[in-house]
């Protein structure tokens, strides 16, 4: 009797994992944890829950499918409140890209509103800054590779390389979690991208009682590892939700189902 129950349990468990695996085949399970972000001090540990993250950034092809299904997000129909004039500026018309663009490249020239809606329509959402940074601190081997010299060098060299947005997705190696292209392709939208106050006057931020107070202080000789992250925060601080930028795409995440 007991044995039977065990077996049943076993089957149920197997079944669940199989089903689970199928529904999330393009997403990867990220095991939660806590870490000290750029702006943090020892006392400011950020906690991240378990979640699923898209393996790859959303591609042009996927976005074409999206606007066909939701015509209100087509280039000619989108509300100006949700996306400025640059929205999908590299598209020939509402559903076709310019011939210079590739379908397997990451979608860019999308606003935060559009990106949020896209994720919502897939039953997903945009990652938070904390979630994004948590996954992005991994390299191929370590979940937190920030202390490694090579990790930062690679990222910084991308920040200096022009026109990476024309590459196809998936050309960078999988990181510790199996996620690709967090670095080396395009910037990515996050749900709360503007929650960190960067005023544009980064030296003044040093004196401000905001998260970046510590961020600025951290960029001392002892803390080189945050340099790359600091540039991401600066970038996020420079944009607003209506902007559509050539080097800015996105990917979605999903919460763990409540059991």
């Amino acid at each position: 009797m007991f044995k039977k129950t065990y077996i049943l349990f076993g089957i149920a468990f197997l079944l669940q994992t199989v089903v689970f695996g199928q529904t999330n085949k393009d997403m990867l399970h990220i095991q939660g944890g806590s870490y000290i972000p750029l702006y943090g001090r020892d006392s400011v540990l950020v906690k991240v829950n378990d979640f699923f993250m898209d393996k790859l950034p959303v591609t042009n092809q996927q976005y074409v499918d999206f606007v066909k299904q939701y015509p209100e997000w087509q280039k000619s129909k989108v509300k100006r409140l949700f996306a400025d004039e640059m929205y999908l500026i590299n598209w020939k018309n509402d559903t076709i890209l310019n011939h210079t663009e590739r379908l397997e490249s990451p979608i860019t020239y999308v606003s935060w509103f559009a990106a949020s809606k896209y994720c919502e329509c897939q039953g997903k959402r945009l990652p938070t800054v904390d979630e994004w940074e948590y996954v992005a601190m991994a390299d191929e081997e370590l979940a937190d590779a920030r202390v490694k010299k090579t990790y930062n060098e690679k990222i910084l060299s991308w920040y200096e390389a022009p026109r990476t947005n024309t590459y196809e997705v998936g050309r960078n190696p999988e990181n510790f979690w199996g996620v690709k292209d967090l670095h080396g392709l395009v910037w990515e939208w996050t749900s709360d991208f503007n929650s960190i106050l960067i005023t544009g006057e980064s030296r003044k931020d040093v004196d401000k009682d905001t998260n970046l107070f510590c961020g600025s202080a951290a960029v001392g000789a002892t803390d080189l590892m945050n340099y790359a992250a600091f540039m991401r925060y600066a970038f996020r601080g420079s944009i607003t939700a209506r902007y559509n930028i050539k080097n800015l795409g996105f990917r979605c995440v999903q919460d763990m189902p409540i059991e």
């Binding site: 920040y159 200096e160 006057e201 980064s202 930028i245």
Partner: protein
């Protein structure tokens, strides 16, 4: 302005300040500067004008007697790859496509409407802090602009002088280290006195992953920048931006005005022109004028205006007199002056024992051995190309661009009987240096050539280049030949 307020609070409380202000204005306060500033705020502007922007070493037309205007400045930010020195490239971040950025010329009272455009291809947000602005952040806060966007802000220029502008986006040091700085000149009413020639130069220090001269695309090195260990210290963004064909020029008898800035990010410049004395220096770019100056100190994030009359013809070398920066890291420019000799002022016979130009590499005195070896080469063509690069870095300063040398100081390599007579001797000289009297094409030379720190293949390349140029015997020197000479010792 600050001094005034301070003075006022000493004497009166805040409510009375306004009355006091009016009183001082009426009674024409004794301090001239204060008076100018009060007036500057009130100078009316009429008409709009698009500002002329120029890339270094050129400057826009002087303001002359023009009235204060609304001045539209259109500045585009570009991140692009450029050449640091022969064979070495670097991704520069620029205001207006050049390092230093475009020169802006204004006059006191102008209302500048600044349009800062961040090119859509750029990766990063940027902004601009102009030291000529009276306002928080010097405009940085109002100009923080994402790629593919344009920010507009305006300011009235109140203080005359030469001011630095730079990017102030985090990480600030990195943005400056990649070339994001330039100069804005504010001329007083009526303009600066007219001179014959005006030029724009700006020093900057660069930090690369590879050592000085290491070929290929070099990335920015944060650690070196923090340690303040510059690989390149240059004028106008690259080695050789002001030498050879790029040298600035003047004629005998003309007065030359140089607008000299220092972008940093780290190093302070000891600006000096070899063979000239500055008749006039606007110290730190301000009102204070010092006369008869040999070397003027330019702080990082500061500037100076220097003026001098050129009395005799010749090539005048501009350096940061922290002299290893000049001869080994690139901080060297040239002013070529043409015209009649004046034997009374300068008798001739060029001898320059102290500032022996030494080229780019690190030198050691004769003796010693072992240099890092490079990858062997394939074709003669490649050998010539690399040889030329090595020549321009190492030999050019003395033997000159066409191998003509400098009469009675440095022997010619062009059509040289001494060179063509013995290839092994030539290899030996490059490897070990040479001191003492020699005769080349009938002329006697008695000078010093230091031992050059070149690898055997570099020696082979540079000699092959020399032998295949300027009417020489077209010999090809191989790495083996060089190694043979090394082993003979």
């Amino acid at each position: 302005m600050k001094t005034k307020q301070h003075f006022l609070t000493l004497c009166f409380n805040c409510r009375q300040a306004f009355i006091a202000f009016a009183f001082i204005t009426l009674t024409a306060c004794s301090n001239k500067n204060k008076k100018e500033q009060i007036q500057a705020v009130d100078i009316p502007v009429n008409r709009e004008m698009i500002a002329e922007l120029t890339a270094p070493p050129h400057v826009p037309t002087p303001v002359g007697r023009r009235k204060a205007k609304k001045l539209i400045v259109d500045m585009e930010i570009l991140e692009e790859e450029g050449e640091m020195t022969n064979g070495v490239s670097y991704v520069y971040w620029t205001f207006g496509g050049s390092v230093p950025g475009s020169f802006i010329r204004t006059r006191v009272g102008d209302e500048v409407e600044f349009h800062l455009k961040n090119h859509p291809d750029n990766k990063l947000p940027h902004n601009i802090d102009l030291h000529a602005v009276n306002g928080p952040g010097g405009g940085a806060e109002s100009s923080f602009v994402a790629p593919g966007h344009e920010k507009v802000f305006s300011f009235k220029v109140l203080n005359p002088g030469l001011f630095v502008y730079h990017c102030a986006t985090a990480p600030v040091g990195m943005h400056i280290a990649n070339g994001m700085y330039g100069l804005i000149l504010v001329e007083p009413e009526g303009g600066l006195p007219l001179v014959d020639k005006e030029y724009y130069l700006m020093q900057g220090d660069f930090y690369t992953k590879g050592a000085h001269g290491e070929r290929g695309l070099q990335a920015f090195d944060m650690q070196k920048a923090i340690d303040e260990k510059a690989d390149y210290v240059v004028f106008n963004g690259k080695v050789g931006a002001l030498t050879g064909d790029n040298a600035i020029t003047a004629n005998v008898g003309e007065t030359v005005r140089l607008f000299v800035g220092n972008g940093g990010p780290n190093l302070v410049s000891s600006f000096h022109v070899i063979g000239e004395i500055f008749d006039k220096v606007h110290v730190e770019g301000g009102d204070l004028i010092n006369m008869n100056v040999q070397t003027t100190l330019i702080p990082a994030g500061g500037a100076a205006i220097v003026e001098f009359k050129v009395e005799v013809p010749g090539t005048f070398i501009m350096v940061d007199h922290s002299i290893f920066r000049a001869f080994n890291k690139g901080a060297l420019g040239m002013l070529k002056v043409e015209g009649e000799e004046d034997k009374k002022i300068y008798s001739g016979e060029l001898r320059d024992d102290i500032y022996l130009p030494e080229g780019g590499g690190i030198q050691t005195m004769p003796v010693g051995d072992s240099v890092v070896e490079e990858v062997p080469l394939q074709s003669l063509e490649e050998q010539l190309e690399r040889g030329k690069q090595a020549y321009m870095q190492t030999c050019f300063a003395c033997h000159q661009s066409e191998g003509q040398g400098i009469p009675s100081a440095f022997p010619p390599l062009a059509n040289s009987d001494f060179l063509n007579a013995d290839v092994n001797r030539a290899i030996g000289i490059v490897l070990n240096g040479l001191t003492g009297e020699i005769t080349v094409n009938g002329e006697t030379y008695n000078s010093v050539m230091t031992r050059q720190s070149l690898s055997p293949s570099e020696v082979a390349n540079v000699l092959t280049y020399v032998y295949n140029s300027w009417g020489n015997s077209k010999k090809v020197v191989t790495t083996e030949m060089v190694e043979k000479v090394i082993n003979q010792k």
